[in-house]
């Protein structure tokens, strides 16, 4: 059966005329009315949300205890903290430093106080303490590395060696290898000031630390012979005085390139080694291309050379006055100037 529907002409009704809300053409009363309507809508939404939230809370409260969501673990003691360091400090040191109370829970720990305890040790440069629920604690520290050592007496203790970091911080040094500590040069020409149980940072340490680091890296043979590094003239003259184990004194300039100065020193000592009868007593590398060298008194002939030296022509006699001058003659090494001259194009 075909149900034919007549196609009726569409007549437009007044209901098809839009009634848009145009605040621009509204009167003041209309705008006020619109604002009130909007506010009422917002209030309705807020109240609706509040009712939904309260309903949820009521449902959660009425739900059986077993069906509730697991609550955060309470009363679970924290595990031994995990130490992540770039140095030599150990977990034993960490446990000793933090001194966590037995059975302490993670949320009962004051992380800021723990971090402050860590930073009280001057060997620690930076520290972060992280919670890892439910019972994990991770400590990340960055340690200071010693570049020199200094003999000092703190309080009533016996004088002992303290380590000095690049930034001048003096610390006792925990966990370092004794052999490595033995290679560090001693510092001289400094004034240590007490601060708390330790000492205040040493001033003007950075240039000396750079020199020591450069020597250790580029001229390990020279570095091993260094015994004392004096900072006494750094502030006033910009000079660092180094005294080696065999008594030689080398003066470096903080204004110059350490690598170039070390290269000159190495070349100079190699050149001077050709004459075993004379030892270098002092080298001044702070004058640029001119390197004054003071030699020590002639060395006594060794046992093998005693016969020849006593009557041989190969060992000319030196006058007493000339042989033992009050001030040894200074020689210049003109060929060393090539080290400082700029390369010719």
């Amino acid at each position: 059966m075909i149900n034919a529907q007549p196609i009726l002409p569409a007549s437009r009704s007044w209901r098809d005329i839009p009634q848009p809300v145009r605040p621009r053409v509204m009167s003041q009363g209309g705008r006020r009315r619109l604002a009130l309507t909007v506010l009422r809508g917002l209030a309705a939404i807020a109240v609706g949300g509040l009712v939904i939230w309260m309903g949820g809370e009521v449902v959660a409260a009425l739900r059986p205890a077993g069906a509730r969501a697991p609550s955060p673990v309470v009363g679970r003691p924290v595990r031994p903290p995990v130490l992540i360091t770039d140095g030599v400090l150990t977990n034993a040191w960490l446990a000793r430093t933090l001194a966590l109370p037995r059975g302490a829970t993670l949320m009962s720990l004051d992380l800021f106080r723990l971090r402050a305890r860590l930073l009280e040790d001057p060997q620690v440069a930076a520290a972060t303490v992280e919670r890892h629920p439910p019972d994990g604690l991770t400590v990340r520290i960055s340690e200071r590395s010693p570049v020199a050592r200094v003999m000092a007496q703190a309080g009533r203790e016996e004088p002992r060696a303290w380590l000095v970091a690049r930034d001048g911080v003096v610390f006792s040094g925990t966990g370092f290898d004794a052999a490595m500590i033995g290679t560090l040069p001693w510092l001289d020409g400094i004034k240590l000031a007490r601060r708390g149980a330790g000492f205040a940072p040493i001033a003007n340490m950075v240039p000396a630390a750079d020199l020591i680091a450069m020597a250790k890296l580029e001229a390990d043979g020279l570095y091993r012979s260094w015994q004392v590094v004096s900072l006494g003239r750094v502030a006033s003259d910009g000079l660092i005085e180094v005294r080696t184990r065999d008594g030689m004194q080398v003066v470096f300039s903080t204004a110059g390139d350490y690598l170039r100065q070390l290269a000159r020193l190495d070349l100079l000592l190699d050149t001077a080694a050709h004459d075993p009868t004379r030892s270098v007593h002092e080298v001044n590398l702070a004058l640029g291309s001119q390197v004054p060298v003071r030699f020590g008194p002639p060395l006594a002939p060794q046992a093998g050379d005693a016969t020849g030296a006593s009557g041989g022509a190969l060992a000319p006699s030196v006058p007493a006055a000339a042989a033992a001058p009050a001030y040894p003659p200074m020689l210049a090494f003109p060929h060393l100037s090539s080290l400082s001259a700029p390369p010719s194009p």
Partner: protein
Amino acid sequence: MSSRPTFIGAVEIGTSKITVLVGQHTGTQMVIIGYGECASRGVTKGAVDDYKAATECTHHAIELAEREAGERLDCVYLAQTGAHLEGFHNEASVNVKAADNLINRADIRTVCELAMAKELPAGRSVVDHIRRPFRVDGRVVPTSPENLVGQRLDVGYWTVHGQEQRIADHLNVIRGFNLEVRELVLSSLASGYVVTLPEERQNGVLVIDLGGGTTDFALYRHGGPHTTGVLAAGGAHLTNDLALGLRLTQGQADKLKLRFGRAVVQTRDKGEKVWLDGTFSIGDRPFLRQSIEQITAARSWEILEVVKKKLGQSFSAETCAAGVVLTGGTAKLPGIAECAAKVFGVQARLGEAPPWVAANLRDPGYHTAIGVLYEGIHGESGRRAPSGRRPGLLRNFTRLFGSA
């Protein structure tokens, strides 16, 4: 569903005044709880020609009404008049499909859709479809013909349409107050339902609403509206005629009209004079009373004649047994009922509001607004298509917060 009552506003944007009534509808009864009135500006012959002025007046009247009611309006039913409104009759008939000739809902729906389907010229919108009684095989059925037996079902619709821009102007005036126009109600139907009784509508009655700028009329037959119309002339034309004929200002002419105007000439003494103000001050001058009456009577007669002419064959004394009922502000003109009786050849009377209307709203000038409120609530069922805008959940929810 919310138990909060609905506060409905009936707004009549007239040429002389703007009236707003606030009705509280509880679902079973309607109570008028607020009233606001403002002298109209920016409205000429029922059409908005100055949007800003009309908006200010209308919004002021709404605010007054809301203030008196102490409640915020939820929606507005708007009276619609103006010379741009026109109507036409369209009829349709269907053969009853059922083999036993029992009329069912599908037959009724089909014939109604056919009768309402009429393409309008561009720029015209339907304001109202007024259904006339059904006829089953030529027999008039005032109510629903469902389950009646017949072979042929006829129905006619009096479709009132208006210029879309004029209607949109009225809607925008209300929308500018952030109110939604829920329904447009023809002014003639609004006042007609207030001043006539169901028996009168059943017997046939003509209601003429003489407003300031327009005259609306509605002819009732068989208990419902048969024909409506709007005439772009009203009380303002009487005032204008007086101003031109007696060389007066509009204000002076209006004053004379209210004091001495009549719809039929009653004064026999041709020399009787009346004073403009009666204070004998500068500018006060006498006028022949008979001249005033002749001018107002001539224009009143003419307006009613034009109404009769527009009704044409729809009106006859036989089909209008209940006569003519006059309402509107200009209906207060003395002798207007007598004039109408002479013009239409039937009895005429002044319309009165139902007893339940408060004393301060019984003036004929408020009948339209009362009727809009009444029509808006009770007149929708059956005769009009139900409004497609139903309050949503959020709207109902926000209404819980009451009025600001």
